[in-house]
Symmetry: C2
Subunit: 258 residues, 2 copies
Amino acid sequence: MKVALLGPEGTYTHQAAEKYFEDLEPEFCSTIREVFESDTEAKLVPIENSLGGGVTDTIDLLREKDEKISGEVVLPIQHALISDEKSIEDIEKVKSHPQALAQCKQIIEQHGWSTEETNSTADAVTGLETGEAALASEIAAEINDKNILKRSVQDRDVNVTRFLVLNGEPEAREKSSLILEPGEDRPGLLHAMLSCFAGHEINLSHIQSRPTKEKLGEYYFYVEAEASGEKLQKAVTALETYGDVQNLGGYRKAERPE
Amino acid sequence: MKVALLGPEGTYTHQAAEKYFEDLEPEFCSTIREVFESDTEAKLVPIENSLGGGVTDTIDLLREKDEKISGEVVLPIQHALISDEKSIEDIEKVKSHPQALAQCKQIIEQHGWSTEETNSTADAVTGLETGEAALASEIAAEINDKNILKRSVQDRDVNVTRFLVLNGEPEAREKSSLILEPGEDRPGLLHAMLSCFAGHEINLSHIQSRPTKEKLGEYYFYVEAEASGEKLQKAVTALETYGDVQNLGGYRKAERPE
């Protein structure tokens, strides 16, 4: 299946797509907007990271483009130490995206390696020279036929990114994403809107406020509710008495790492 | 008064500080963390922008450092495209603070410019090389003797930033900021916490979720409530039955532009 996603080849987004799609034909884009605007059968975008929080570009584009969500993928980000060298003793310098270098400080300091920043983790792998290693995904090592000297070299284990699949065929409808736009700014309106979920015993697993870009302090809400179908529709009917609601679709809930 | 704020001279923070303090003696810092860690009489930090949303570094540091908030300033922002080049056709890359880059997405995508993040909008202006432009205040172009290629290049005209004053003497206590940390993850807990405000007829003017960085999907909330003193304390007492609450202090509400 043809799937638009953030490139280049060998990034973690690519790895997430490989995890979700059995017959992936990736179409690599350079921005999240480009992914949304491509006319592939399906698309994959990052929505949330355990360290950085909500991916604001994705949330704003979900509201703007009104694409249907058909699935989610949860990927623990684990950096591998990748090289043409065969032994970790031969490494003198590591290259990667600044974020990955920051996440692997302990092993870098332990070995006293020098560092060099690259535009992406995948770029680091393609630009390797003698005595150098890259911090990147295992898939980047496979694609470029390099050696994995050590797996999972990041400092902590809580770096997890969640991705949404757009435009595909949902395997199930366990949860749904909605955009809520309060119709006015008055005391307690957010509480009143959330009471539509509480009243129908629907759990919210995610809520993120984003500016409407119309006026300072005017926000809309991206929420994920653990319901779909008739049960969700009751909440939506109640919500619509307070403002506008976009239903972005129902999809299967992915398993979270412990 | 000695006030720590994001420098160098000519940033929007500088402009906001001039607006708030009559006797400003600015102490320029290079990161928001440095502002928080300085020991000046007062500090000024950006908290929210009408296009970019909440300033996540500030919110995370409010939670980490527990500084008291004593005031707020609201400032309309207009970015200029600034360069040593004389024509917009010669620009290949734009540099600025990530938030300014986010606020000028349309012109950047239109021209296909690459981008580079800097610590401040003013830093972008002083570090310009051939083929590069900065997004910054017009005053920064004047101070550094650069060309303004285009004025007011932000996506929309509703670009307003709100700043918080820390550590000063509040002129009044019309509103308060709180950090809420739910004690568990269960259906309806956010709704239950918000009911503590609704029940005491306290309006929330702002709510922002941020990851705790412990686990995917685990969030804390930064909220601004239009109350202080005894009335707020009742809500806080109720809130504490659901989780941890940090009261960051009460302060005067600044006027918003129409």
